[in-house]
């Protein structure tokens, strides 16, 4: 394009992020935009919400006793067996989850960078926020907590090196052994509170980011997010509490 405005410093718009990326592939262009990244965050968020929900439901089996729980744990490896070889479907899920986490974290990271660039000089007086919630303001922190917790959780109950009593395959015993140590139980509870907070904003945010907007159900969006967060995080917190209280042993 030709010159649009007589460019005088101070009168023309500043340079901040530079022009958008051009690509032959629409999906790359899409992802390079902030709105595209929010879409990706929302879609991966939906996938991850599905995961935490199923994970929570599966874990409820611990109240049915060792046999049921270990059977459930083993059944994850035999999903769709014998159509697929042993463990393959689980690995497909695992890879899917890793990819979703990857994109979720990558987009969060790049958007955070972009947002810091967008306000290099902060307000010099305290802000008086009206709409932001504790959840929306702490998404980055709750996200980091969840990420660290996830690594610990894998080390504790999947890989086992964070759990001195770990026995491969004995899912129920590993879990009880872990939760019986109260510092570990507290870590799980705190991390799940962070997860709940993250879900509270994320669960609502999904609707905005993907343009799911209809005056008929808009009022229900906050309720859905709150309900989902309480359901998943609340029940997840029950597990260590149940072990500490001796209900599950």
């Amino acid at each position: 394009m030709t010159q649009a405005t007589e460019s005088r410093p101070g009168a023309d718009a500043p340079e901040v992020n530079g022009p958008p990326k051009q690509s032959r592939f629409w999906i790359v262009e899409f992802y390079s935009s902030a709105i595209g990244k929010k879409w990706v965050m929302a879609l991966t968020g939906i996938g991850l919400m599905g995961f935490v929900l199923v994970h929570m439901v599966g874990n409820l089996k611990m109240f049915l006793g060792r046999t049921e729980f270990d059977h459930y744990a083993e059944s994850l490896r035999t999903l769709l067996y014998p159509i697929f070889p042993h463990g393959v479907v689980l690995w497909i899920f695992r890879i899917g989850l890793i990819v979703m986490f990857g994109f979720h974290i990558h987009s969060a990271y790049t958007l955070t960078r972009m947002n810091h660039r967008a306000r290099p000089i902060k307000y010099q007086s305290p802000r008086d926020y009206v709409a932001v919630t504790f959840a929306s303001r702490t998404m980055r922190w709750t996200g980091i907590i969840i990420g660290l917790y996830l690594i610990f959780h894998l080390a504790d109950l999947t890989w086992g090196f964070a759990n001195p009593d770990f026995v491969r395959g004995a899912a129920y015993d590993n879990l009880v052994a872990s939760f019986e140590r109260w510092p570990i139980a507290i870590i799980y509870i705190l991390a799940n509170i962070a997860l709940g907070i993250h879900l509270f904003h994320g669960g609502w945010s999904i609707f905005q980011s993907t343009g799911m907007n209809n005056p008929r159900y808009n009022s229900a969006r906050r309720g859905f997010a709150a309900g989902f967060a309480i359901l998943v995080a609340g029940i997840n917190c029950l597990f260590p509490i149940a072990v500490l209280a001796g209900v599950v042993h």
């Binding site: 992020n17 010099q124 926020y129 905005q208 907007n213």
Partner: protein, 259 residues
């Protein structure tokens, strides 16, 4: 009957973008039926007589429509009154003895000009990128040839009420320009006349916006700061249109709605 308020003002002073700024303090006694900007006028009159340079701030129509005025007042864009631009904020909203902190909008997309005045040219660049319906003068058909459902006209008007003041960017913790861009987009995208260019417009304006501003993380702070109370629903609509704009093969399907 008006009463007099004794206030302590803490105002950001900065000679130019390249200089270092700082807060300065002023005591002012002003009638509570003065507007906020009249209060600043009054402070300025005193400063001039005192041989101190008056505070620079953008303002013009003083009836809440031109979008010139700005100001972060006590940590809120356009101050504490909802749905009100600074020029329509009256001192009766404050109490005797208050300290009032006044800062400029802060965003990389709105560089500081002087004191409280900032440069909002980025908004013009966003409009230039596609915020219009391409119709040359004289080429228009009769106004009643296209029926516009009242609801669509009303919703478009809700979006079109935007005054381009930049409060959304200023209030956003991420300095995102999404509410402005969405309002301008959906004003046109909601109308039948806006359909032919809908997707191209969305793509161009969103990508221009992202050259200057941060990203939306759905705090909703913009909607609260907006003097015209424009809803974040328009941001959701923009997000959907943007995906469509990227998905659609416009060479074959035109700008037809996708999905």
């Amino acid at each position: 009957m008006s009463t007099t308020l004794n206030l302590k003002l803490k105002v950001w002073r900065q000679e130019s973008a390249d200089d270092v700024g700082a807060f300065e303090y002023y005591d002012v006694a002003v009638a509570d039926d003065a507007s906020f900007l009249e209060m600043l006028d009054y402070v300025n009159e005193g400063l001039i007589l005192d041989d101190r340079e008056p505070i620079a701030f953008d303002h013009d129509c003083r009836e809440g429509i031109c979008g010139s005025c700005s100001l972060m007042i006590d940590g809120q864009a356009h101050g504490p009154q909802k749905g009100t631009a600074t020029c329509q904020l009256f001192m009766r909203k404050f109490s005797d003895g208050d300290e009032i902190v006044v800062e400029p909008w802060r965003a990389a997309g709105f560089p500081l000009v002087k004191d409280l005045a900032v440069n909002r040219a980025a908004f013009d660049r966003i409009i230039e990128a596609g915020g219009y319906i391409s119709v040359n003068t004289g080429a228009a058909p009769d106004a009643n040839i296209t029926l516009v459902p009242k609801e669509a006209a009303d919703a478009a008007m809700d979006a079109a009420a935007c005054i381009g003041c930049g409060a959304c960017v200023a209030a956003c913790p991420n300095s995102a320009g999404n509410l402005f861009t969405a309002a301008k987009l959906q004003h046109l995208n909601l109308l039948p006349q806006g359909q032919p260019e809908r997707l191209a417009r969305t793509e161009a304006m969103v990508e221009k916006m992202e050259e200057f501003f941060g990203s939306c993380t759905n705090h909703g702070e913009c909607q609260e700061a907006c003097p015209k109370e424009i809803s974040v629903d328009f941001i959701a609509m923009m997000n959907r249109d943007y995906l469509k704009a990227k998905l659609a093969n416009r060479k074959r399907s035109g700008q037809k709605k996708f999905g």
